[in-house]
């Protein structure tokens, strides 16, 4: 394992400190417990948005704290949901009197820890609502699983709900638009290489020189299926099939197409993927009106990518286009 780290135990603390130092114009960082809040938090009268989860998915979530997106991000240990304490502290720090929305990715650990924090916040008189992001179509949402996972679609939920909050929507309305995005967004990913959790020191799975994992999550966990390496276009087809079948998307739909790098994939490959994904959507009669390409929801240094498709409408498009000013997503100001 070769990493640019000091003591593996300090990875998250040091990275959070570095993030705070690098983006002091946008955020304030609290350590012990670790959380990152908008520089101007709490914003009086505005619904506060809090997300969080295990570290190792950067820029998610800290890179999305700022105007027009999250009010706070709570980083846990690498690939480990944060405990309720920092979630509670972040919730209090961003409560501007209009309530707080927790945007939670659907993993048992995240759900349970955010649940506890929400209960504690409620006990302190803060109105908290939660939404569960579960966009990963690689996992069937059935009684026999923990349900679908939340992956890169989370970024879109955070951006759009953040825009709704910053235009003054109330807690109900922000939660409703977040649920709307969740209902309309689907993702699926592929890994070419595994990743190594610093404290584990070994990859979470191994792949032969000609193997790839289809349907991976974002925690270095193995996927659903292991296949031989294929050309990029064929891999794109494999991911887009289940995505497009799931909602289903229909001809005439306007969509946002996101190609998300898992952390170790060169951008040049992401654009090769984007090119074919856009072709496939066009062939299905879908119009790609908004795009996002880059590393947004990563798995440390994993090579691979995920494709996310969001069915847009006028409201979602307007909220997507609204100004955002965070470390990782920025436009309009």
């Amino acid at each position: 394992m070769k990493k640019l780290v000091n003591d593996p135990k300090n990875v998250v603390d040091e990275a959070v400190a570095g993030f705070g130092a690098a983006h002091a114009d946008l955020v304030s960082v609290h350590q012990d417990p670790n959380f990152i809040v908008r520089k101007d938090a709490p914003v009086a009268g505005k619904v506060g948005l809090v997300s969080g989860g295990g570290s190792g998915h950067e820029p998610m979530h800290g890179g999305f704290v700022g105007f027009g997106m999250l009010d706070a991000a709570v980083p846990g240990a690498v690939f480990t949901s944060p405990t309720p304490d920092p979630i509670l502290a972040a919730t209090k720090a961003v409560d501007g009197g209009a309530g707080v929305l927790h945007i939670v990715k659907n993993y048992t650990g995240d759900v349970l820890n955010f649940e506890t924090a929400a209960d504690l916040a409620a006990a302190d008189g803060i109105e908290v609502r939660s939404v569960l992001v579960n966009d990963d179509v690689a996992v069937k949402d059935s009684l026999y699983t923990a349900g679908r996972r939340g992956v890169a679609g989370t970024v879109l939920v955070e951006k759009i709900a953040g825009a709704a909050a910053d235009r003054g929507d109330n807690l109900d309305a922000v939660a409703t638009v977040a649920e709307k995005v969740i209902a309309r967004v689907r993702s699926m990913g592929v890994a070419l290489t595994p990743c190594v959790v610093p404290h584990a020191g070994e990859p979470s799975f191994t792949l032969a020189e000609d193997e790839i994992e289809i349907g991976i999550g974002i925690h270095g966990e193995p996927g659903r299926e292991r296949i031989r390496l294929e050309p990029a276009d064929a891999i794109v087809d494999r991911l887009l099939g289940p995505i497009l079948d799931d909602i289903p998307f229909v001809s005439g739909d306007e969509v946002l197409l996101m190609v998300n790098g898992m952390g170790g994939t060169p951008q040049i490959e992401l654009y090769i993927v984007f090119r074919h994904a856009a072709e496939v959507l066009a062939a299905k009669g879908l119009t790609v009106t908004r795009t996002l390409v880059g590393n947004f929801t990563t798995s440390l240094e994993m090579q691979g990518m995920s494709i996310t498709v969001l069915k847009l409408d006028q409201e979602l498009t307007t909220l997507w286009d609204a100004p955002v000013q965070t470390a990782a997503l920025r436009w309009g100001r």
Partner: protein, 211 residues
């Protein structure tokens, strides 16, 4: 050893040692069918508990020990295991609240409450390939041993044995809860890390009672 606060603290101290010792083993189990952090999570949590045990008042009851374990695990472990073990110890603390020394019935009540807490939070059923598959056999074995007139130590040994067997039994299963459920058939052949850490914990309980 009588099952008073001294035992409760010894149990937790031993558990901390055991989690450190088995950290890599638990990480490896979790790498296979999860995300590779379970050993790190348990080690971090129990080390944090260790740092707080001495702050307990001299007259602390076992329930106070378990309450401290609960709140510390909840606030330091994270992931799925943090809330689940935290709730287990919280419910266990309530179940034995006030008692300065635990008898067989209290032991069974403690284990039952812990298991019920895990089920309450995690909604897993027997056979879902989770820590419940260690705890439920342990509870059943403890209850049976108690009914058969076994002493405290033997109740704990029965529980530990059953938990170990339960953890082993998860190996051939598909998972229906937690991260391993994403893997479908590919979880087959791997032991559930949480069931394994549960078995370690209950073995520590028996070992310290034997001392």
């Amino acid at each position: 050893m009588n099952l008073g606060a001294t035992w409760a603290k010894a149990w937790i101290r031993t558990s901390a040692d055991v989690m450190s010792e088995h950290r890599v083993e638990l990480i490896n189990l979790d790498r296979e069918i999860g995300d590779g952090d379970h050993g790190e999570n348990m080690d971090r949590g129990f080390q944090a508990v260790l740092g707080k045990l001495d702050d307990l008042p001299a007259d602390a009851a076992p329930g106070d020990v378990f309450k401290l374990v609960a709140t510390t695990l909840i606030s330091t472990v994270g992931g799925a295991a943090g809330p689940l073990y935290g709730t287990a110890f919280l419910k266990a603390a309530v179940a034995v609240a006030g008692a300065l020394e635990l008898d067989g019935a209290a032991l069974v009540a403690l284990l039952t409450a812990a298991r019920d807490g895990i089920v309450l939070r995690g909604k897993a059923e027997l056979g879902d390939k989770t820590m419940v598959d260690a705890w439920t056999p342990a509870v059943d074995a403890a209850a049976a041993a108690h009914e058969a007139g076994a002493n405290d130590l033997d109740i704990l040994i029965a529980a530990a044995n059953a938990a170990e067997a339960g953890a082993v039994a998860t190996e051939p299963w598909v998972a229906r809860k937690g991260r391993a459920s994403y893997l479908g058939e590919r979880a087959i052949g791997h032991r559930d890390p949480g069931a394994q850490s549960s078995a370690l914990l209950l073995r520590a309980a028996a070992d310290t009672a034997a001392a």
